[in-house]
């Protein structure tokens, strides 16, 4: 992986372990990618595949028990993992900011939302209170909070779930971060608001050259917003490709399954096809491809040996099927 000039975020072989009384569990097993300025990377996968853990480790916010055991995270060339505490604090919120999954619990229940946004701005920049407040009000209006001037004095419990999520979004955007990490940011929102929020994020991308890591399981959003897609399965990256080519021709059987379960107006099937079985429990010790037990094309080799991340036409895929198919042509 070559770091290009515009790279704002580079992740190399990121490994995360969770430990408890029973021992260590590796939930992220070597993740690598490169995020360019102004681009959006979508990370897709089922629950428990390591999406959220990956997002949290980018800002070193893993919960107790979680530990980054290997790899590097470079933000504009600076190593996040070895950064001193104060630099890390300055990076959080301003350089890389984050939108969390659960809007109901992610805001402080006994602090007015105005204070919660203002303190974010004040922790990082020296703008006057008036300008900071003006910026906050503008942003709240943009995310669709009516009467922001009155509502900043209210507490989170006085807002609906969707409104709280939008407040979270405003909070994450208030410092115009270089990289936005969004962990299922629109899951709690209804479709119209969802569209507005996506539009807002796109605008910011265009205006400020903001990059984003978008974690989602909603493939419609992926198609709408992402430039590149990374598919996670069982802690591994199983496929990584530019968005158009991925949707046009998914290579990995898992990606094919995911796309196959999409609803389309043209579709006439009675039932949506689903991928049989369940994703592996995090850290299941296994040999071979993590998807093999559910894969319709799996053969002995898949069960015996983990495929490597195979590169083909600028995309990467972790599947023996693809790799074996390519080999004869090379010979």
């Amino acid at each position: 992986m070559n770091a290009c000039e515009d790279t704002v975020l580079q992740v190399e072989d990121l490994r995360v372990c969770f430990s408890n009384e029973q021992g260590k569990t590796e939930v992220l097993r070597g993740l690598s990618y490169c995020l360019q300025k102004g681009k959006v990377l979508a990370v897709v996968g089922e629950s428990g595949c390591g999406k959220t853990v990956h997002a949290l480790s980018l800002l070193k916010l893993l919960p107790p028990g979680g530990e980054i055991t290997g790899g590097r995270i470079l933000y504009r060339g600076r190593d996040v993992l070895s950064m001193p505490q104060e630099s890390l604090r300055k990076l959080r919120g301003a350089g890389m900011s984050m939108i969390f999954q659960d809007p109901m619990t992610s805001l402080n229940p006994i602090r007015t939302i105005g204070k919660q946004i203002m303190e974010t701005i004040e922790a990082h920049s020296t703008v006057s209170k008036r300008r900071a407040q003006a910026r906050m009000l503008r942003l709240l209006k943009k995310v669709g909070i009516e009467n922001p001037r009155q509502r900043i004095n209210e507490y989170p419990f006085q807002f609906s779930g969707g409104q709280r999520q939008r407040i979270m979004i405003a909070m994450a955007l208030c410092l115009r971060p270089t990289v936005l990490i969004a962990d299922e940011p629109t899951t709690a929102l209804d479709v119209t608001i969802q569209a507005q929020i996506l539009k807002l994020i796109k605008n910011l991308q265009g205006q400020n050259g903001m990059s984003a890591v978008f974690i989602t399981h909603n493939l419609a959003i992926v198609a709408d917003i992402a430039d590149e897609v990374l598919v996670l399965y069982g802690g591994y990256c199983v496929e990584q490709a530019e968005v158009k080519s991925l949707f046009a021709q998914p290579l990995h059987p898992y990606t094919q399954g995911l796309l196959g379960s999409l609803v389309s107006l043209k579709r006439k099937d009675e039932r949506l096809p689903a991928i049989e079985g369940y994703p592996p429990a995090p850290g299941t010790p296994e040999e071979g491809c993590p998807f093999a037990p559910r894969c319709p094309h799996a053969w002995e080799k898949c069960r015996a040996e983990l495929p490597s991340l195979f590169e083909k036409d600028g995309r990467k895929v972790r599947c023996w099927l693809v790799e074996e198919n390519e080999k004869p042509r090379e010979n």
């Binding site: 619990t105 992610s106 402080n108 006994i110 602090r111 922790a123 419990f157």
Partner: protein
């Protein structure tokens, strides 16, 4: 909010009525002769026993006697305390401020150190700071007040002579009761400051140290535990992660966010502890010969001073209701989600 407070205050007479009647009923288990004998100081006058019984109607029906007590109590007359040699109302006025003063100093110490140690203990979980705080807390729980009190008295008065027992020295007593010293509030610490008399202030403070420290220990141990577990719970919550992700400095994350949420249960606890201190400093006041309301109560009980007992328990009941109300009101101040309504 106002309606809630008014409704709670309406409850106050009911509680007071219940408590005082119950106690009155219990004192009636003593024979009229026994109750009357309290008023006769000289054994040679025992013949006058029947006279006293007759005069105060001690043989009357319980309700009739209680009615008499109640009607004079409503007129502000709580009777004459034989044990304190003054009217009960005056005794309360004289002794209560000293106890309130002690309780306030104690609760301030308890909340300050309890919260501080609890927070440090939670933030430094399983590190040496946490181990120390927990040991201190277990020690505080296990050490009975009277043992600790006597130990402290032995060490700091007996050996070192730093902190004497009693409420104040004789010289202070003279100053305080001289006409040039204005008792603005009844609280000696505040009065001393208002009179600009620092000698009195330091003297009173010096006498307050040991009883306050002794009283602290048990509540402090409880406070550390509650604050620690509350803090640990809050630190694991999502909004704390959000606060970190926003790039707030760690002290803001710990105190402004987690701390303020964690302190909510501590506030109720502090309210209850405060009331407990007002009515329950009996042992400590006795050990340190502190001239407070607890000592008055215990002397009244020992000498079967029925008027004194009634007055003391009425006061405790009133304070209890008011204290609970105060802690409810405080609750709404720290937690916007709580509204005192129906």
């Amino acid at each position: 909010m106002l309606r809630y407070i008014l409704r709670r205050l309406l409850l106050l007479p009911l509680v007071a009525l219940g408590v005082t009647f119950l106690l009155f009923f219990l004192t009636q288990r003593l024979s009229p002769e026994m109750r009357a004998s309290l008023y006769i100081k000289d054994p040679r006058q025992m013949g006058a026993l029947e006279e006293v019984i007759e005069k105060y109607g001690l043989r009357d029906n319980v309700f009739k006697q209680y009615g008499r007590w109640l009607s004079s109590a409503l007129h502000g007359d709580l009777g004459y305390s034989q044990s304190a040699n003054m009217p009960v109302a005056q005794a309360i006025k004289e002794y209560l401020p000293a106890t309130v003063q002690l309780a306030v100093v104690t609760i301030v110490l308890v909340v300050f150190f309890g919260v501080w140690f609890g927070v440090v203990s939670a933030v430094k979980k399983d590190k040496w700071q946490d181990v120390c705080a927990r040991l201190l807390s277990v020690g505080g729980f296990s050490l009975p007040i009277f043992v600790l009190g006597l130990l402290l008295l032995m060490l700091f008065y007996g050996k070192l002579g730093w902190f004497p027992p009693g409420g104040y020295s004789v010289s202070t007593d003279v100053i305080v009761h001289s006409p040039s010293f204005h008792p603005y509030t009844g609280f000696l610490l505040i009065d001393a400051l208002l009179n600009g008399n620092m000698t009195v202030f330091w003297d009173v403070l010096r006498h307050l140290v040991l009883p306050a420290v002794t009283l602290c220990i048990g509540s402090f141990a409880l406070m550390v535990r509650v604050m620690r577990s509350s803090m640990l719970e809050e630190l694991g919550k999502d909004y704390v992660r959000t606060a970190r992700a926003k790039g707030l400095p760690e002290h803001a994350v710990v105190y402004r966010h987690a701390g303020k949420n964690a302190i909510i249960p501590v506030i109720t606890l502090a309210g209850i502890q405060f009331i407990r201190l007002l009515g329950g400093t009996v042992i400590v006041e006795t050990i340190f010969d502190y001239p407070g309301i607890g000592r008055f109560g215990v002397t009244a009980a020992q000498q079967l001073d029925i008027a004194g007992i009634m007055g003391f328990s009425l006061m405790v009941a009133v304070l209890f209701v008011l204290g609970n109300l105060l802690s409810d009101v405080l609750y709404t101040a720290v937690d916007p989600r709580i509204k005192l309504s129906e």
